[in-house]
């Protein structure tokens, strides 16, 4: 209620203000006319013409003619996208004809930097701008995925599951809670998740260093991605229709045939002295064929845009459908957007509104890695049938003595389980601005986002794995709503005093988030006798369970920014933000986040005189950012009231309650301190542009729930504490070369390079190290280094085993047999134990690169994008399953295990039932994860205007493209480009959904 009142109050204040300001000042003006043309004399339509230092302006018409009323001593500014902006003093003229040079380098590009814009040339901090055209070419579900390889310092890892959201990391892993950057879409702090339509993007800016991101204070530690959606441009209605269809395919494992499987399986049993199982040789199932399929993605988009002199609109609709490459996986999205704005006098107002409905269907997972199709297809034997009448539910799976395996049948999972989630989202903002004076702007922004989420899980009766206990049918459903309300007020002063250019911004923001869920479960569902299907409503069935919860958080902020520019030579930018969050205790709620950055445009100095270097700027910045990326109530301890006990002769239930999870009352903000040094250089008339940055980003008081002692009796998650200090140092370089060879041909090539060194400086809580799975995180080393036993070849003879001793002469592996793996006895204690584990390698790449090239020849265009990652070590989960042999699975085709007859191999003896050679904690499963991948390649053809004008089209384009079709790597798993959400085990590829290969055909028509 309070919020609503405030909003109404704000509106009423506006109206008063609006009326006041309508009577703005007038001066002695005369009418000026002219034509805007290219340097070749061709008219440029719709060029913006503005009287400098005012908001007065107009646009040229279709033929480049304009008319504006302006004082005789004024200056006109002519600007248009793709052309260099020109300023011309009127000096009493009434006709001014101008020509604008094409601006391939786009140095004057305007960059959105949060609560305002800057010209790219004035930037003093590290900001990457991504070309939206590059993004729209690709077939991706989320924005993050489409940024891959396009900007330095930005690491993206996608996955091929329909609706899967890519992981994005800007300048390394700076904290331990999650690497997602802050997304700001049209001024609304939100997430650019899968229900955002990437086709609506006009521009993307990535704020990488602390000075750039500081204006977003406590939420900006992971960097900020600012997305501006498309706006209408002045002119008649423009309609653009585009359609893209893609066929997708998944890489497949090269698995043993039935015959090879049987031979190897029998060998492992024989070697283990275990009686062979009675494999059913009459069955020969290709599980990959049963579970994987060719997928189909379609992306249908239509947009309407246009505008008058003082208003513009943009409307778009999109359908995105992805039929997955694994059975029973799908993603569908319908989205709709309306952006509009208008202005009158000193007052302008606008809104951006997006509605979307997204739905995913997942293959029903069960427990652990059982239920992951990428493991089940390799664990299930070729001798197991897909269907088996004898099993409850009718699906084939392991059978004791016949097929000793506990893998789940994915076909059974797909049919017995429905798992769907759907959400309807409304996201938008309304803004209003008043410019009472040319040097003063007041902006009010109200943002609102809400999502209505639905989840359905239906489990039918039937089994999918060996020895599965009976479970009745049940359905588990939830309904949830999330809501974000944002109020922002900013005041901007902007004034030139001779060579001094000053801009000052102050503002406040208020953001409230809420998430509410109710859920219910019922078992023993009824079956509808007509359809044979279960009733999946919560009315039917028994053993009802209900639950629900609500999470709220609030962030209040004050912000200020000073920009100062002297003579386009010396640039200063200072930011201060003060944030208060409900997530911390009273003593720790508020924190300040300052930053300062400096730039020096050397090329504007009088002493600077270079033929080749056309532009040169040096930059340096320092800033502090925060992160409070933790649960809403982490600093308090709570009582868990879920438990119950049985007591009494009647075996009656009584409730119980106690503290289960411990809490740290002294939690405080995590602080990122980042220093950045960089340069921007333009060479050869800015055809070649170089940008380089070196940064040191140190995160202190990293919020993380490191495992605490089990002897505390803590359960339900480790309590969050300010636990560690993490540092990232890195170097980024990007270079791009653009050349207009002649009227018919131009090309562009760019390369970006990122080198990053992550280091855990210290662990808090008195911990020295944190071991998670096969990784160790300890001070002085990057997070999550591989910490395993080292293998040292195979024993070829009993003699070698007997001779393998420590310095005392103790035989280290007395139980080994020829063909077994020799492990290094690192601590020389004469046995192989956990104490022999050492840090062997890093899951972090040494460097990553992106290479982009594009060319246009007449009506044809071509572009491609390569990404490369070098030096990371990956844990191949697939091999750790199929090469182990102590437990049954299918195997890789063509392996050559050690036998006395075949000793020249690196594959150890295969033995059922002993983990000697198969232990998961050795370097046997680590592989070089370096790769180079052709992420995107495409050609397009624009049908000549002459051919389509007659049917009323402005533009018609056909394109063919492919994604992920070439990968150069030694990695033996499905895909070296994967993401593991566990920060400490980032290099573990354990059933990750591989990126799909994708072939697309696209058609775009504009009229």
């Amino acid at each position: 209620m309070r919020t609503k009142l405030r909003f109404e109050f704000k509106l009423s204040v506006f109206l008063i203000f609006f009326t006041l300001s309508l009577q703005s000042m007038q001066a002695q003006n005369s009418e000026i006319t002219g034509t805007v043309t290219t340097t070749e004399g061709k008219p440029i339509p719709f060029v913006n013409v503005i009287l400098k230092g005012t908001s007065t302006g107009t646009s040229a018409d279709m033929d480049g003619n304009y008319a504006i009323s302006a004082p005789a001593d004024g200056t006109l500014v002519f600007s248009y996208i793709g052309y260099a902006t020109r300023e011309i003093a009127i000096n009493g003229q009434t006709e001014i004809n101008v020509n604008l040079a094409e601006d391939l380098a786009a140095l004057d590009e305007v960059v959105v930097v949060g609560y305002g814009t800057q010209q790219k040339k004035d930037l003093t901090s590290a900001v990457s701008v991504v070309d939206s055209e590059q993004i729209s070419k690709r077939q991706t579900t989320t924005v993050a995925e489409s940024l891959q390889g396009l900007a330095s310092g930005v690491n993206v890892r996608g996955g091929g599951q329909p609706g899967q959201e890519a992981r994005i990391e800007i300048r390394g892993l700076k904290n331990l809670q999650g690497s997602n950057p802050l997304y700001v879409i049209d001024g609304l702090v939100t997430t650019a998740n899968r229900d955002f339509n990437p086709n609506d993007i006009e521009s993307i800016q990535i704020l990488k260093d602390a000075a750039a991101a500081a204006i977003y204070g406590s939420r900006a530690a992971n960097g900020v991605i600012i997305i501006t959606t498309k706006k209408g441009k002045q002119g008649p209605l423009k309609v653009t229709v585009s359609s893209k269809m893609s066929i997708t395919d998944i890489p497949r494992y090269d698995l043993a045939s039935q015959e090879e499987f049987v031979r190897l399986n029998n060998m492992a049993y024989d070697n283990g002295g275990v009686p062979r199982q009675e494999l059913d040789l009459s069955v020969n199932t290709d599980w990959q064929e049963e579970v994987f399929r060719t997928g189909l993605i379609q992306d249908q988009n239509v947009s309407f845009s246009g505008g008058g002199e003082n208003s513009s609109y943009f409307i778009s609709g999109n359908y995105f459908g992805n039929k997955g490459t694994v059975i029973s996986t799908d993603f569908d999205r319908i989205s709709f957007r309306v952006n509009s704005s208008g202005e009158k006098g000193i007052f302008s107002i606008g809104e951006n509104l997006a509605l979307s409905n997204a739905k995913t269907d997942e293959i029903g997972g069960s427990d652990g890695f059982r239920g992951n199709p990428f493991f089940d297809v390799v664990r299930l034997f070729p001798t197991i049938p897909v269907y088996d009448e004898d099993n409850p539910g009718g699906y084939g799976y392991g059978k004791s003595g016949v097929a000793n395996v506990f893998a789940a049948n994915p076909v059974a999972l797909a049919n017995l389980i429905d798992q769907e989630s759907e959400n309807f989202r409304i996201r938008g903002n309304v803004w209003a601005e008043i410019d009472p004076f040319p040097w003063l702007n007041y902006r009010f922004n109200f943002g609102y986002e809400t999502s209505f989420d639905e989840y359905l899980y239906l489990r039918r009766e039937g089994n999918w794995t060996l020895n599965q206990p009976y479970e009745p049918s049940f359905t588990n459903q939830n309904r949830a709503q999330s809501e974000t309300i944002l109020f922002e007020n900013t005041l901007t002063f902007k004034k030139e005093f001779g060579k001094h250019n000053l801009s000052l911004l102050v503002g406040t923001t208020y953001q409230k988030n809420k998430y509410e869920q109710i859920n219910g479960l019922k078992r023993n569902l009824l079956i509808n006798p007509n359809t044979g299907e279960y009733f999946d409503v919560l009315d039917l069935g028994d053993q009802a369970q209900v639950g629900g919860f609500r999470n709220e958080s609030l962030l209040l902020s004050y912000l200020g920014r000073l920009e100062y520019n002297f003579d386009d030579r010396y640039l200063l930018n200072a930011v201060l933000r003060r944030d208060g969050s409900s997530r911390f205790s009273d003593a720790n709620k508020w924190s300040n986040f300052p930053s300062v950055s400096l730039g020096w445009r050397l090329s504007n100095e009088s002493f600077f005189n270079s033929e080749t270097i056309s532009d040169l700027k040096l930059r340096a910045s320092y800033g502090e950012l925060g992160s409070g990326n933790i649960g809403n109530y982490e600093y308090q301890g709570f009582i868990n009231t879920f438990g119950a006990i049985v007591l009494g002769d009647g075996q009656t239930l009584y409730p119980s309650a106690t503290q289960v999870r411990l809490a740290n009352s002294e939690l405080r903000w995590e602080t990122l301190k980042q220093t950045n040094i960089g340069f921007d250089m333009g060479l050869l008339d800015n055809k070649l542009q170089l940008t380089g940055d070196y940064f040191i980003a140190k995160t202190e008081d990293v919020l993380f729930g490191f495992p605490i002692l089990l002897s505390t009796g803590n359960d339900g998650g480790n309590p969050i504490s300010n636990a560690a200090t993490v540092e990232n140092r890195g170097f980024e370089l990007s270079a791009s070369y653009t050349e207009q060879v002649n009227d018919d041909f131009n090309f562009n090539a760019s390369v970006n390079f990122t080198r990053l060194r992550n280091e855990l400086v210290s662990l808090g809580n008195g911990l020295n190290e944190s071991i998670q799975g096969n990784t160790i995180t300890k001070s002085g080393e990057p997070v999550g280094m591989w910490y395993v036993l080292q293998t040292d070849g195979l024993f070829q003879s009993q003699e070698e085993i007997n001779n393998y001793t420590n310095s005392e002469g103790d035989v280290i592996q007395p139980n080994a047999l020829p063909g077994d793996i020799r492990f290094k006895d690192v601590n020389d204690d004469g046995q192989i134990t956990n104490a022999d584990k050492t840090v062997v390698s890093s899951p972090w790449p040494d460097f990553e690169m992106g290479f982009n090239a594009s060319a246009e020849y007449k009506n044809f265009d071509f572009s491609m994008n390569w990404i490369g990652s070098f030096g990371a070590e990956i844990y191949n989960g697939f091999r750790s399953v199929v090469d182990r042999f102590d437990d049954d699975s299918n195997y890789r085709a063509g392996i050559q295990p050690w036998t006395p007859e075949n000793p020249n191999t690196d594959f150890p003896r295969i033995v059922r039932g002993t983990t000697l050679n198969s232990r998961g904690d050795s370097d046997r499963w680590l592989e070089d994860g370096s790769f180079i991948r052709l992420k995107y390649v495409g050609i397009g053809y624009n049908i000549p205007e002459s051919a389509i004008k007659s049917i009323g089209f402005d533009k018609a384009r056909i394109s063919l493209s492919a994604q992920n079709i070439i990968t150069i790597t030694d990695y033996q798993g499905l895909d070296p480009e994967f993401s593991n959400p566990n920060i400490f085990q980032r290099g573990v590829d354990f059933g990750s959904y591989p990126n799909v290969q994708n072939y697309s055909l696209g058609v775009e028509i504009g009229f």
């Binding site: 369970q545 119980s656 008195g766 002993t914």
Partner: protein, 510 residues
């Protein structure tokens, strides 16, 4: 000019009015749960907190599941052929990864979870005002009993463990103590609990510990330390003293089904139910059940991760009843190949389809009413029953040189199974205490196999302390070929605990 001033003033005014955000709003309460400060206020809070300690019996690290792997399968009574090799390795002394959750860490963690809960009650309840001060004393006594119970088993398994007696905080680094010191704390808690526990609870409260249960636990902890005099005193209470209100039920099977729970033989019994179908975690609807039967049921019926050694079947067939029949306890102890032939019972309704030398644990199985198992067994677990007490009494008397007196208690147990008095069946034993103990070891197996007492028995008898006796056990259970004397008598402490707690050392030789 005037207009401009008005405008600027208006703008600044508006701006300031927007800026004055209400900072009070930042104090958001969690709408989902009570904070710890809001709890531990009323007597009902004390009851709920106490109940949460009982709820620990339902957790998988303890008496719902994995503890049976440590106590039954690691002993020579059981073993594992689980295809989950690591799980099986942890029942045969192949301890490689000391952090293995199911084999080690979860039981450690859950033991301390229970202790944390007891510590909360013991720290916060004294400050709560009760109108019924007797109830307050009982609550504290119950908490002490339960803390002692969990420390007893932790001390039995790992021996040298950290001692935590206050509510935990995240940065705690508790000090390790020896098994002796652990047991001293157990004794103290049990003695204090004994004072305030009742002899008997009313029908609504069956399942809470009685004075007898406290004395029984005391007897266990004294016996483990071979402090026979004190053990005798404790057992006197149950057998001949003030608390001697127990008797053996007529039907041996009644100790293992849900049909005659909390009967006259039950000294302490974990109350399991099937009312809630959740997991063993702390989520809504957390289960109150045992999952043992699902994990021990034969292949094709349950997970079959644990089964009985076949020598048990032979042991039962060594001696017939006075009527010349097979020891009837075999029927209710094991599923084995000739079960149908011997007693007319099928295995979960099936003919024998498993190995000819295989046997499965039957105690706690629900084959008497269903042909499968699940995660929600409601059959109470008789942790301490009177037959165990009688045999312990006999053992203690024998150790104290009162072998002749000991006979009668063994005979009480034998009589129910229709076995002849011991002196009649084995006259050669006479007053030879060693021979009596040897016989008693077998009597305990016949009566108590699969009831999670074998591991403490083997430790107490010293059978795990010499290579000779271990070799002898390995005859029955080849897993003991892996057993290293001086090392495997206790579990390794989870490695993460050792690494993160400077006050804790790994157990010897690990």
């Amino acid at each position: 000019m005037m207009k401009k001033i008005v405008l600027i003033t208006a703008m600044i005014g508006i701006f300031l009015s927007f800026s004055s955000c209400n900072e009070e709003e930042l104090n958001l309460d969690n709408p989902n749960a009570l904070t710890t400060d809001q709890f531990w206020v009323t007597p009902n809070d004390a009851e709920l907190g106490l109940n949460s300690i009982y709820a620990m019996f339902y957790k998988d690290g303890l008496w719902s599941r994995w503890l049976y792997f440590r106590l039954d399968l690691t002993s020579d009574e059981g073993f594992s052929q689980s295809p989950w090799v690591e799980l099986a390795d942890w029942t045969r002394f192949n301890y490689i990864n000391y952090n293995f959750w199911e084999g080690n860490a979860v039981t450690w963690r859950d033991s301390y979870k229970a202790i944390f809960r007891a510590n909360q009650v013991l720290a916060y309840v004294p400050d709560i005002e009760f109108s019924d001060s007797n109830r307050k004393q009982q609550i504290l006594a119950e908490a002490k009993f339960l803390r002692a119970l969990h420390y007893y088993y932790a001390g039995l398994l790992w021996e040298n463990i950290p001692m935590v007696l206050e509510p935990s905080t995240p940065s705690d680094l508790p000090q390790q103590v020896s098994q002796e010191e652990v047991f001293a704390q157990v004794e103290q808690d049990l003695n204090e609990a004994f004072a305030d526990l009742p002899l008997q609870w009313d029908a609504q409260n069956t399942g809470r510990p009685t004075k007898g249960a406290a004395k029984a636990m005391l007897a266990k902890v004294y016996m483990q330390q071979r402090r026979w005099e004190e053990a005798k005193t404790a057992l006197d209470f149950l057998v001949v003293g003030e608390g001697a209100n127990y008797s053996l039920v007529d039907n041996y099977k009644d100790n293992f089904t849900d049909l005659n729970e909390n009967n006259a033989e039950s000294v302490f019994e974990i109350q399991f139910g099937d009312q809630r179908r959740g997991g063993t975690d702390e989520g809504p609807n957390a289960a109150v059940s045992s999952t043992r039967a699902q994990f021990f049921a034969p292949r094709g019926i349950g997970w079959s991760d644990g089964q009985a050694r076949f020598w048990l079947v032979d042991a039962f067939k060594q001696e017939s009843t006075v009527d010349g029949e097979i020891d009837p306890r075999l029927q209710h102890s094991l599923f084995y190949p000739s079960l149908f032939e011997d007693f007319g019972d099928k295995t979960y309704g099936r003919d024998w389809e498993w190995g000819e030398d295989e046997a499965w644990f039957r105690k706690g199985a629900r084959d008497y009413k269903r042909d499968n198992e699940d995660y929600y067994s409601e059959v109470n677990w008789r942790m301490i029953r009177y037959a165990d007490i009688l045999l312990r009494y006999a053992e203690v008397l024998n150790e104290l040189g009162m072998t002749a007196d000991a006979y009668q208690y063994v005979d009480m147990v034998r009589a129910r199974a229709n076995m002849a008095p011991l002196a009649e069946a084995y006259p050669e034993i006479g007053n030879n205490a060693d021979a009596f103990l040897d016989r008693l070891k077998i009597e305990r197996v016949l009566e108590l196999s699969g009831e999670s007492v074998r591991w403490e028995d083997l430790k107490r008898w010293g059978d795990l302390e010499s290579q000779e006796t271990v070799d002898e056990i390995a005859q029955r259970d080849p897993d003991f070929n892996n057993f290293e004397v001086g090392k495997n008598i206790r579990l390794p402490i989870p490695q993460v605990e050792v690494e993160n707690n400077p006050n804790l050392e790994q157990n010897p030789q690990y």
